[in-house]
Each structure stands twice: as C-alpha cells, then as structure tokens.
Point group: C2
Chain length 296, copies 2
C-alpha cells in the first residue's frame, strides 16, 4: 500500500506531460481512497491521468475483534465520492466481491483472515473463440471476409444460396481463458466462496511466512505455512502454486548467515502436500509465463 | 516522502517486538505529520518506538504563487499536537530553521525555491576536544585520572601543590567537526542565510536535473543544472560537491540507449565551474567517507 502513490507518480511521469484520458482504477480496502488522495495532495503530485479508487468493505470476521477498525469515517470526512467511485460490499452469502467484468476479464475478490482484514484477488480471463476451419469454410462456399468474423464470434450466417452455417460447423473449441489468484497475508480464507472462485487456477500465489514446524506461531500472527498454502491449492485444484512473503529468517542457501534457515525447506514442505504439481518460491522480479492452452 | 511510512515500519520490525523508548524525531514540511499518521493508521501499522513529527512552515516565496498550498488545516483537523510536537517557523531575517542542537550536532534547515516549497538541511558536527599532551601532563605532575578528562573538556584544574593547569597548556587544537549539507529539489535558495549555513561544508549534495544547455527549462521546472550547483558550492567554499536527481535521459556510458545522454556530462560541466575540487555523481547505495581532520 505504501508504494502505491509512488507507483502512480512514476506511471504518470512515464506518460509524458500531456494529460491522457486513459483511466486508472484502483481496488483496495476502505481507507485507501483517503490515503491516496492525501498522499498525492501533500506531495503536490499531479497525475496526468484520472483515477478512481474502489473500496472493498471488510467485515469483522476477517480479523481479531480488537484489531477491527472502521475507516468509513475517512470516506465521510475527506472525500466526496465521484459518480464512478464506490464502496463495494461483499456478497453476504459467500464473502466474495465482484470488481470488474469486461470482454476480456472478470476480476473478483474474496475475504481472508489475518491480523487485519485482508483480501484475495482472482483475475479470470474469458475464453477466446476457437480457430476457424478455413478448409471447411471454403468447402461450404463461405466467402472470406466479414462472415468469417461473425462465425468466429458465435453468430450463424446465411449464405446467398440460402444455406445457413452455424458456428459449431466451422469453429473449433474455444481456447480456455487463464486464471490467476493472488492472496494477501492470511492464515486462511473467511469467504466461503473462495475455493470456488479459485477453482482450477492456472496460478495460485499464497503466502507462507513460516515453515510447518512453526504453524501455531504463524496462525497466531495471521500467517500461513507451506502445508496450509498447499492444502488450499489442493482444494482449488490449482495447477501451479507460488509461495511468497517469507519471514526474513529464511534465506537462499548461498546467502545464509548464523540463525538463518534454508528457504528451500518451504518449497519442500509444500511439495510434500501438493498433489501432482511443483511449487515455485517467489523472488523479486520473478516472471512466470502462463501459456494459452493449445488445442488440436 | 512516500517511502517514509515503509521505512518506519522496517526500522520497527528490525527493533524486534518489544516496545523501546528510543525516540524517533522526523522533520519535514507542514502536512507530513498528518500523512504519516494516516498512513500508519490505515495500514494498521504499529511502531515499537514513539515518534514525533516536527513540521517546517514554508512561505509563499518558495514556489510559484499558484502552487502554494496551506496544509496547516491538516494539523488543525486531524492532529492534536503532543507536548513535544511543533510547527517550526523560519527565522524571518534569513529564512533558516533551527531543528536540533545537542552535544554532538546542530541541525538546521533553510528555504529553497522549487515548483513546491522545498528545503535544504545542514548537519553540523561540533568540534571535538583536542588531544591531551601526555608528556607535558607528566612533566607538570598531573596524575592520570579524572583531571585528564576535566582538562580535555576545557576546565582548568588545580593540583595538590596549588599549581593551576589551564587546558590550553596541555590540550591540542580541537578537531573540527564535519559539515554535511543536503539540498532538496530546487532552482535556487530562497533563504538569505543559506550560504552562511553551508559555509565550508565538507560535503554539499545539490541536484542537477538537466545539463547546462537546458538551463532555462531546468529553472522553469524549479530545477538546477551543474553550473548552478557548482556556483552555490563555490559561494559556500564547499570541499566536495555531490550531484544528484538527474533526469532519466542521462545514463551511465555503458547503459545508454537511443535518445539518452551521457551522465558524465553533468560532472564535467560542474567541474568546469567548481574551484579546486572534484565532483561526484550520486548513485544508489553510494557511500562517501568524510574522515575527521587529522591535526598535528
């Protein structure tokens, strides 16, 4: 959160000095909007793009009772909401939030349990239309051009000879969209709908602050261990598990000093539990490619 | 400024979990206190040490009239000042601020001109007592022990035989304290007392955003060029000049792409103006040693 105002300023600088109409939407817990506005105001920062902060309303079951704070006063005190700004409440039946849906993506969030309210996010890419069978189109006498596009997007077309061609005749299976789930600090999920949202994730990022021998301590501080992360990954049938947010005591084998522990123990412990997949330990600037599924 | 809440949290984490009485004092422009309080509150951060924010009151001559903002309402609205918190006004005669004075250091600040009010800071180490002339002390019959300390700290002592020994008889010249001056973004100083405060600085850190061929553009945006930095360094008889805050267009020779310029031009331009000293280009994690002056 602390890095957000600086990130916005850097992005703005890189856009050049001309105001742009490209809009930036920011999603985070209640209180974030006031924090961003005040940070930019006190630092006299001017962004070349408009931005909107959408705030997620947490609930008291997301943290110990004594840690819960009501930040909605910030919204009342400091900010008049513009027309597109909103406080998003969770679906009361399953603790999930619908953040965004467009032609390409659905983005949802869900409640986590931590020392303070925390959230998980799911970016779910929509399926892409399958490949056109050009040979079959030629056979059926469909002329190349706009009719191809219509068929690919799922509409039937009628040829000049009166014949109707249905997409299922000439379009292959859709290419499945990819799903990435990123959880914040947590010792578990509060939302009953979390595992459903994360089902079949291509990539699941879950914290593992301490190793399994410290599970009680981890839970006490609202954190997880590799087994806890892998259990959730199994529940979701996630295809890849990335662990992050390691305690400073875990170091790569080459960088260990006295009192440090080997970070690869976290990988081993998660792999002992995770069914059928390997585990990746996150590091700064790590890039993971998630290729589109190739269909025959 | 954006990095400050994160820095405080990191320092706190490294202190362990036990509250400490070590106090942290933070100095910055009006508005900083509310920013820090809100950042720590909204992020539920708890520091193990107490901290105090001392705010410097800027004036309208530090920036273009249309950019000046009165942030004192933040102080009125959100923060009740604790007994040791203060808003520090500049000395009206010379635009300098007295921030701190203890046995080791004097820390002062002064007004700069920029797109928004900006400040320079001077850390001035006090002189250390000179070396005791042990041979002379023996000759004069001063017994080793507490009398040595008294003399070193500048008090005369009387021996059992009635003879009075004055510090100037047995203590060498004091070791001069070191002076470091760090200026924020600026196209010049507003404070008439700035050059006096920075006089004979061992190290002066001054920005040079653009090279001298872009001086008009630099000034227009409230920034400096190498010549401007070196002129101020000459005015102060600074012993070393460090340039920082280069525009992204300047890159080290090995890292230049199309459209980039060689950053060493900034060094050359400053050295063409700076009298008798070399210029250092700042880079991340650069460490500069300022040795204590060795006296004979």
């Amino acid at each position: 959160m602390f890095g957000l105002p600086g990130l916005l300023c850097t992005v703005s600088l890189q856009c050049g000095s001309t105001p742009t109409k490209q809009h930036v939407d920011i999603y985070g817990p209640v209180g974030l909007r006031s924090f961003i506005r005040m940070s930019l105001e006190v630092s006299h920062s001017q962004l070349v793009f408009p931005y909107t902060v959408h705030e997620l309303l947490p609930s008291e079951d997301q943290c110990p009772a004594e840690e819960f704070r009501d930040f909605s006063r910030y919204t009342r005190d400091c900010c008049s909401l513009s027309s597109d700004e909103q406080i998003i409440a969770a679906d009361p039946t399953d603790g999930t939030y619908c953040l965004l849906e467009n032609e390409q993506f659905t983005v949802k969030a869900f409640k986590l349990y931590h020392r303070i309210p925390s959230f998980g996010f799911v970016i779910d890419e929509k399926d892409r239309p399958g490949k056109l069978d050009v040979n079959k189109l030629r056979e059926l006498g469909v002329p190349p051009g706009p009719l191809y596009g219509k068929l690919k997007l799922g509409s039937a077309v009628t040829l000049e000879n009166g014949q109707t061609i249905s997409p299922c005749d000439v379009v292959g299976d859709p290419v499945p969209g990819r799903k990435v789930c990123i959880l914040g600090d947590c010792s578990g999920v509060t939302a009953s709908g979390a595992a459903r949202l994360c089902q079949d994730a291509d990539l699941l990022v879950h914290e593992a602050t301490l190793d399994d021998s410290q599970m009680d301590k981890a839970k006490e501080h609202g954190h997880s261990t590799p087994k806890m992360a892998a259990d959730f990954a199994n529940l979701c049938s996630a295809k890849r598990l990335v662990l992050n947010h390691f305690s400073q005591r875990y170091k790569p084998p080459g960088l260990m000093s006295e009192g440090d522990e080997d970070v690869t123990i976290l990988k081993t412990q998660a792999e002992n539990v995770l069914i059928g997949h390997s585990v990746i330990l996150a590091e700064d600037f790590l890039t993971i490619n998630i290729p589109l599924q190739k269909l025959s």
